[in-house]
Symmetry: C2
Subunit: 234 residues, 2 copies
Amino acid sequence: MKSIDVCISPDLLHLYKLEEKIVVVVDILRATSCMTTAFANGVQSIIPVASLEECMEYKNKGFLAAAEREGKTAEGFDLGNSPFSYMDSSFKGKTIVVTTTNGTLAITKSRAATLVMIGSFLNKTAIIKYLAKQERHVLVLCSGWRGSFNMEDTLFAGSLVSGLEGVYRHESDSALMAKRIYESARYNMMQYLEDSTHFKRLARLNNYKDIEFCLTEDLYDILIAEKDGALVKL
Amino acid sequence: MKSIDVCISPDLLHLYKLEEKIVVVVDILRATSCMTTAFANGVQSIIPVASLEECMEYKNKGFLAAAEREGKTAEGFDLGNSPFSYMDSSFKGKTIVVTTTNGTLAITKSRAATLVMIGSFLNKTAIIKYLAKQERHVLVLCSGWRGSFNMEDTLFAGSLVSGLEGVYRHESDSALMAKRIYESARYNMMQYLEDSTHFKRLARLNNYKDIEFCLTEDLYDILIAEKDGALVKL
């Protein structure tokens, strides 16, 4: 049987083999939720870059560029990391270049995989249905916060382990833990996350509505994957 | 207020400052449970070493030497990693040299801390009472399995976070997760761990009684800490 595993931090990625696998990169608050929202609203492609400098170079060439650091829009950029800012009809058909504190780094670190997908609660069931039909092992990579474990990404990883139970076997303790915390939190995720660090960080910055939106399950029936360095609809 | 944090793998230790802190090293199945049992049964000191070679050197000099790799007693050694083998009255007053797959490495990695303690369920409340009176920040370091997250060490870490609530603040998501899984598992830890990897690994090797023993809370009222490279009773 195919297997699913969960890597709870990019700093533990050296423990996993990526070759021949599907990697689902997760940064619930808010990079991968934003990306999903952007594609659902007609964006054509997203180029994830690791550094602010790289992002600025693209901006200077005329690209739409989004940059977030420490939960805020980085200086010199118009677009940040709120999903609502991607609900702009003028972005239809456009390419956006994005850099974020954690999420884009996790994407660039995953390139040895056969397929890199972007995961969020917003398109959770679409991903589960897609993965159920694949023949490869799956690794869910939580972006975390500067290398540390975070709750919301692990909850999402657990929702995939839980949703694929019986189709994918899971053997690691991280997958088991993720599944268990998701199953105890699923009907009350806002409350479950209230004490978590990034929730509090964003709530201080008045991003409460963003959090609520990013925890909404199955708003969009789309799939996003990396192709030749850019993210596109699958 | 003093803070308590949880590092879920030695491979994430670079994210934490150890200076000025008390580090509690945990390897529930079974290194730190064995060490606690050894001291409770009169052992004078334990020298943790990282490699089999180092351990053999000590053995050749006449020391009692215990070595475990992959859950089994390593070749050439008499003592392994079962707590029952440390209930030997002939060990009274002796020094034992120990190397294990994960636990001893976590100890040697923690030496920048002000105080390195050894934690197990067997002396959980003794540790909680001791820490409650200290004025330093605490980091619980889970030994994990070859760098990976493991359930039993994190459960124990959560039992300290839970037991010190109100005395130590906790802010990280790993501490919060550890506390939550402990609080949902505490009255049924054997069952909670049944699906975990190391439980299954040890159960295959017929170490079911060891596991049960290692999950027993508060059997011993002792404290163990590192002093000049050796573990001794505090």
